[in-house]
């Protein structure tokens, strides 16, 4: 029981620190990440329920959610000031790269979705 209490305490502390220390821009990206994750889960659950036909459409939609998630996470990492030393990109360049990758991703998704 104390272990559960410990875990709950840690989670609460984590939540507080997250709310206070992360800048607003990153919180926005985090909210977007949670939304994309939810859509991915919904798509996968639908596939499990209804079946995989047509497989290419399911794959295309699911990979689209995973791709958006990964790209947004990468953008968040690159925009985080704490990571300035590992990455040598300005925030504008990071966002431009993000848009470039998204164009490629969505062109392919639209082609694959049948």
């Amino acid at each position: 029981m104390t272990q559960v209490g410990q875990v709950v305490g840690i989670l609460r502390k984590l939540n507080e620190e997250y709310q206070s220390s992360t800048p607003k821009k990153l919180k926005l990206i985090d909210a977007y990440l949670v939304y994309v994750l939810l859509t991915g889960i919904v798509q996968f659950a639908y596939c499990l329920l209804v079946g995989t036909f047509p497989f290419n459409s399911f794959l295309s939609g699911f990979i689209s959610t995973v791709g958006c998630f990964v790209l947004a996470a990468s953008l968040r990492i690159q925009l985080n000031k704490a990571n300035q030393i590992t990455f040598n990109v300005s925030p504008e360049r990071a966002f431009a790269d993000f848009v470039f990758a998204h164009i490629i991703l969505h062109l392919v998704v639209v082609n694959f979705i049948g």
Partner: protein, 781 residues
């Protein structure tokens, strides 16, 4: 002494501002020379013969490219080829890697758009040499990222002429490897670049280059397994960084969906074991990054490191267990035969004889490594050791590439091609580091060393010089083991070493050019032999026979031959073939093999079932050509035995001494089989050598055992000038009454006895007998 110092330091400051410009000028000039030399060294067969497509596989690629330029891209993607694999046909759009055809088609379209009317054949023939220049540039870029620009220039020069690469990219060798090696190295360069910068842009470019590689060659599996293994090793070595997360995740997810756009690849990236390592590492990396993020927030919690470490291990075990479960239940296909036989080399011999019968799939001999790589194979471990000593993220990659490529090159001779870029890069690194010590004569360190050595030689007069002398004496004692200090390298030693290295490199160039000229420049479709006085005799039998087929057979005629020649027949004669080099249907090939290995009557049954009109065999006994069908015959028997073990047994074709011989001691079953009869029909009347009896087979160097036989169900249609290609026509079913029997019956019925039997009346042959009371039935006799 002081004046010498001043002059040299002035020289250094003056040149540093213009040296950058000079350096880049020299770099560009060297790279241009490298591209030109790579292009030129591949043109031997064009100069000796003509601009023609070589070998077997390129003929299919050429035919597809012609189809694409004639009919457009969408018709090519949806093309159903009914000239191949009669009666099955082949869905070309879904069974071919379109990158090669699309590349040539694009170049063709571009040139025609600017009104330069190049024929598509010229583009196909010269595509490989042009791309070899691009490969050299990509290797330069990759080595520049791994080590330095100087090593990059060496690597570019090496790969431009290395025989391991030029063997598959001579002019006329219009095959997937021509563009695939360029795509491979370029993808690796972009991957190293994206790991070093952690930028989303470079990762997306890596994914696009990977897409080009997937469209080009089935060897893309190498990339999609090597990069995840690299990521895994970096995690194990504790070199995790956020750059790694960004680059691999974006590369994987974009690469995944891009690779599924190729119809031939289809859904394999999510359904086969070959792609599961990449997926597993992707999931592991997501989990690892998440834990890393939490760890940074939760540093104060006790034992947080062990908790996260254990969680990572548990997650990897769970993912591995899920993959194993899915493979076991059949959702994920196991490793396909082609790739499994790289791991278990005896697998193909037992189960899939057609994989092991291909000459390119044989194990590599020791001499091939030196033959294909000469000096580089000796410098290769040295370069690997230098990378191990100064390890960083990208050098882990090249070391993993080296390990895996070395293993694969040892398994299959065809995979020497994937080893060659790695060997070129590491050998260039070794050479560059060596020459950094011995050829660098302009640094101030070197100047002061020179001055010091001058001062040693000079007369020692004042204390200053004495001091230098003492210091030098001490330094020489200390620095004997320390190779960073260069006091002991006088200019004499440097010159000697640099000269030796230059001589070795000259020998390397001579070797590469000689190998490319003699061993790898034969077009296989045109043979050459040399007369006793040295003049050339061109043996053009193949093309002669294929054009005879094209001009003298009906358009819908079906040709039966061994699968080696299928692409060439379809490409040059434009006729339907039964089996070709695609070898996707083992049963069909086994049926053809059974027909070749059975006696004439059995073979005739198979041939009528398959609607065969013509048979084509290759026979080299007249000129001593050793690549003919009699030498390949045992493979036909083995493949047929794999599918029809009751009818065909390999031991039947050996003589009593368990040897495969065609002379008098050969087995009678061999003498009666279709292949033997077709090859040696009328050969018994031919004198190939004045000193030998008639029917002397110059390839096997024996007199054949079974001569002067007749063919019952086939007739000879064409034999080429040197008897290399022999074409036979399959006779239609014979008439109902045999002519001989009818004559006998007629003469017997006209004889005295039958007259008396029939009371002096004549007799009608086969007169139907009327049975009273029953309907007269039209009986067919």
């Amino acid at each position: 002494m002081t004046t010498v110092n001043d002059n040299t330091s002035e020289y250094i400051t003056n040149s540093s501002s213009s040296s950058a410009g000079l350096k880049s000028l020299i770099t560009v000039i060297i790279l241009i020379c490298v591209c030109i030399s790579g292009f030129i060294s591949r043109l031997f067969s064009i100069i000796r013969f003509e601009s023609v497509i070589h070998e077997f596989d390129p003929w299919f690629n050429y035919r597809s490219t012609v189809y694409m330029t004639d009919n457009g891209f969408y018709n090519f993607l949806n093309w159903f080829d009914d000239l191949a694999w009669y009666p099955l046909g082949r869905i070309v759009g879904g069974t071919v890697f379109p990158g090669l055809m699309v590349t040539s088609g694009t170049i063709h379209w571009f040139f025609h758009m600017i009104n330069i009317p190049i024929h598509i054949r010229e583009i196909c023939v010269f595509l490989a040499p042009v791309f070899s220049g691009l490969t050299a540039l990509a290797t330069y870029l990759l080595t520049k990222e791994l080590w330095s620009k100087r090593a990059g220039l060496f690597a570019a020069a090496f790969i431009a002429i290395a025989p391991g690469y030029s063997s598959r990219s001579v002019a006329g060798s219009y095959d997937n490897e021509a563009i695939a090696i360029f795509a491979l190295i370029f993808t690796y360069y972009l991957w190293i670049r994206s790991i070093k910068t952690g930028s989303i842009f470079w990762s997306s470019c890596t994914a696009l280059s990977y897409f080009y590689m997937v469209s080009a060659w089935g060897g893309y599996v190498f990339i999609i397994n090597l990069i995840p293994v690299h990521v895994g090793f970096l995690l194990l070595l504790g070199r995790y960084s956020l750059r790694l997360y960004v680059s691999y995740s974006i590369f994987y997810i974009l690469g995944l969906i891009l690779s599924m756009q190729i119809p031939f690849v289809g859904f394999q990236p999510v359904r086969t074991s070959e792609h599961m390592i990449a997926a597993g590492i992707f999931i592991l990396l997501q989990a690892y990054t998440f834990f890393d993020y939490l760890y940074n927030k939760l540093r104060y919690v006790r034992n947080i490191e062990t908790i996260f470490f254990n969680l990572s291990i548990i997650i990897s075990i769970i993912v591995f267990a899920i993959v194993v479960l899915l493979t076991y239940t059949g959702y994920i296909a196991p490793w396909s035969g082609r790739f499994y036989s790289l791991w278990d080399t005896s697998y193909a011999a037992k189960h899939i004889p057609i994989i092991i019968s291909v000459s390119e799939h044989q194990p590599t001999t020791w001499t091939s490594f030196f033959f294909d790589l000469h000096l580089l194979i000796c410098l290769y471990p040295v370069g690997a050791w230098f990378c191990v000593k100064d390890l960083n993220d990208e050098r882990v990659f090249i070391l993993l590439y080296a390990v895996f490529a070395s293993y694969f090159a040892g398994v299959m001779i065809r995979l020497m091609l994937t080893l060659t870029p790695c060997v070129c890069i590491l050998a260039a690194i070794a050479l560059s580091k060596t020459l950094d010590y011995y050829a660098d004569a302009e640094s101030s360190e070197m100047v002061s060393n020179y001055d010091d050595s001058v001062s040693i030689c000079d007369e020692v007069e004042n204390d200053e010089n004495n001091q230098y002398l003492d210091n030098n004496a001490q330094n020489i004692d200390e620095t004997d083991d320390n190779d960073d200090d260069q006091n002991f390298l006088t200019s004499n030693i440097k010159i000697i070493v640099v000269t030796c290295i230059a001589m070795m490199l000259l020998l390397f160039i001579v070797h590469c050019t000689w190998i490319t000229a003699t061993a790898y420049s034969s077009p296989s479709i045109v043979l050459v032999s040399y007369n006793s006085d040295g003049t050339r005799a061109i043996v053009d039998d193949y093309r002669e026979a294929y054009y005879w087929l094209r001009q003298n057979t009906p358009e819908k005629a079906r040709i039966m031959s061994w699968w080696d020649y299928g692409y060439q027949i379809a490409g040059m004669s434009n006729r339907t073939v039964l089996v070709d080099n695609n070898t996707w249907n083992n049963s069909h090939i086994a049926l053809v093999g059974k027909a070749m290995a059975s006696n004439e009557t059995e073979a005739y049954k198979i041939m009528t079932m398959l609607d065969v009109d013509y048979i084509l065999v290759i026979f080299g006994g007249v000129i001593g050509f050793s690549g003919d069908d009699i030498n390949k015959f045992l493979w036909m028997v083995r493949i047929a035995e794999g599918e029809h073990p009751k009818d065909i047994k390999e031991n039947n074709y050996f003589n009593d001494n368990k040897e495969y011989r065609v002379d008098k001691s050969g087995s009678p079953i061999l003498f009666n089989c279709l292949m033997y009869k077709l090859c040696y029909y009328r050969f018994g009347e031919l004198y190939t050598d004045s000193a030998q009896p008639s029917g002397f087979d110059r390839t096997r160097s024996v007199e054949i055992g079974h001569k002067n036989f007749d063919l019952e169900h086939v007739e000879e249609a064409y034999t080429s000038a040197n008897w290399i290609v022999r074409i036979y026509r399959v006779k239609k079913l014979s008439n109902r009454f045999q002519a001989k029997d009818a004559l006998e019956k007629l003469t017997s019925s006209l004889s005295e006895e039958s007259f008396e039997k029939n009371d002096g009346k004549g007799v009608i042959l086969n007169k139907p007998h009327v049975k009273k009371g029953t309907k007269k039935s039209m009986r067919r006799t």
